[in-house]
């Protein structure tokens, strides 16, 4: 029974469906194509971060720096574009910035053997500081209109960020659940020493997960900047916590080795539906955070075996 629950993500899925049904009943606006499309669009940035976070948490790590990495890479991309760098080149450079941010985390964690929480707490502040230095504390406007396609265009009625997120989810799913690196990430998270003794190059995979997280933070940053038409030095503040929440809501164990991307998607969807529902129900914004927090606690309580083990 417990296995069936886990295998088919029944816990998180039931929670999601419950919220979905309740909102459909109490608000006629909720269950419309336009609104659901809006939910999917608003979910996309957090989902991208949560996908990277899933890789990291599966190794029993944590990446608190994703919000700052998002801000740094998008500020650099925006700055370059305003300075007449071709859009494609600015995008590539932003992705490289994300990759290097992840690499830095990975080196400290895999090779210097420092605790992921402390390392990424440090780089969270470091990258935020670098963003503030680069932007001089002011938002970057006047980004070329060509760049707005990524965040605002639609293909066949579906927003481009949603399509991009789905493509990345599929690619990440194949890597995590069907490829050799994915299997070894689970092994490292399950028991690092056993994996090492079996000949798995543990450090390589630890490095890899933080690089995946960094690159996906950069992708999320590009999507956000394109949608807003500006790069804010404070962009992404607190986003790391939303990403972690989505991963944990999806049933992934913070102790590593257990969890799935489908779970993470459901977790991100739960958050997306909560936020959307509270908005369309016109819940007082002071109450929104409290309600959100209460729902998260409830959801984790329903799935508590995962967290405490």
């Amino acid at each position: 029974m417990a296995n069936v629950l886990r295998r088919y993500h029944l816990g998180p899925l039931i929670g999601f469906l419950l919220l979905f049904i309740i909102l459909s009943i109490v608000s006629p606006q909720f269950l419309t194509f336009g609104n659901l499309r809006n939910v999917a669009l608003q979910m996309s940035v957090n989902t991208l971060l949560a996908v990277g976070m899933t890789f990291v948490i599966l190794t029993s790590g944590i990446d608190l720096s994703v919000g700052s990495t998002l801000a740094l890479s998008s500020a650099i991309a925006a700055g370059l574009m305003v300075g007449h760098t071709p859009i494609w080149l600015a995008v590539v450079i932003a992705l490289v910035v994300g990759l290097l941010a992840g690499l830095l985390n990975g080196i400290f964690i895999a090779y210097a053997r420092l605790a992921p929480f402390i390392v990424t707490l440090g780089t969270m502040t470091l990258f935020r500081g670098m963003t503030e230095i680069y932007t001089q504390g002011t938002p970057i406007f006047n980004i070329p209109t060509g760049f707005s396609w990524l965040g605002t265009a639609q293909l066949a009625g579906i927003p481009v960020p949603v399509i991009l997120t789905v493509l990345i989810l599929v690619a990440a799913w194949i890597i995590l659940h069907r490829s050799i690196p994915g299997r070894r990430i689970y092994a490292v998270g399950g028991n690092e020493q056993v994996a090492y003794l079996a000949g798995v190059r543990v450090k390589k995979y630890l490095l890899l997960v933080y690089m995946v997280s960094g690159v996906l933070a950069a992708v999320a940053g590009l999507v956000l900047t394109s949608r807003l038409g500006s790069a804010e030095p404070t962009a992404g503040t607190g986003y790391e916590l939303d990403a972690i929440t989505a991963v944990v809501l999806g049933g992934t164990s913070l102790f590593g080795g257990e969890g799935t991307l489908v779970g993470t998607l459901i977790g991100a969807a739960i958050l997306g539906v909560i936020d959307n529902g509270l908005n369309i129900l016109n819940v007082n914004s002071f109450w929104q955070d409290a309600v959100r927090g209460a729902i998260i606690l409830l959801a984790i309580l329903l799935d508590r075996k995962k967290v405490t083990r």
Partner: protein, 271 residues
Amino acid sequence: MTDVQVPEDQPVTAGDGTAPLLSVRAIRKRFGAVQALQGVSLDVHPGEVVALVGDNGAGKSTTIKMISGVETPDDGEIFFEGQPVHLTSPAVAERLGIQTVYQDLALCDNLDIVSNLFLGRELHRTLIPGLPKLMRKSEMEKRAIPVLKELGINLPPLSTLVASLSGGQRQTVAVARAVLWGSKLVMLDEPTAALGVTQTKAVLELIERLAGNGVAVLMISHNMTDVFQVADRIVVLRLGRTVANFVKCETSLDQVVAAITGSAEEVAIQE
């Protein structure tokens, strides 16, 4: 105090004339202030089961770690198939055909049986060069089943999570993992320590079948009944040193125990 002398630079052979697969010569290892090994020498031949015995702290586990590449000796040499080898990591040892089954660190609980069997050497196909290689799970199961059958291993479906297996089944999976790789040398650290009577019997039978297939087996055990049941030779370590090397059929439990505790020397002195 005199020790039973074992020549440190000459091969300690089983006497049947075959070349040893593994020769350990006078290895030493110091951990900080502790001299863990101060001259361990032993040989293991293909198809032979050698039991490594000794009291707690005699250096059995450290010796295994030297051969499995987890630690490197400060001094002394290790020969594998006649060649001097530098076992700098478990991956290096595994590539040579040395597999180790650790007491508590053999399996990943969160993975299923087949993933554990192939961990570190998953069968794969490359769909697009440069992208991550995809696993061939059904192929891995297909490859594993005849090997398990040949060894008389009965396990639940290979997609079962290891966490849900019994102690004996886990030990069997760990040994099967070593066998699957056509390993030449399999080392087992206390293979029956946590097992019940029936499970112990099954694991010992598995060890015998391994040796019957020409695999060299080096096993650590505290259980003299197990040792006398499956070992061809018994190497005794005491205080980080090889102190005796018995052929099982030419020795007795008393002799081995005397070598382990060091009372053999006192007897020798009195005589």
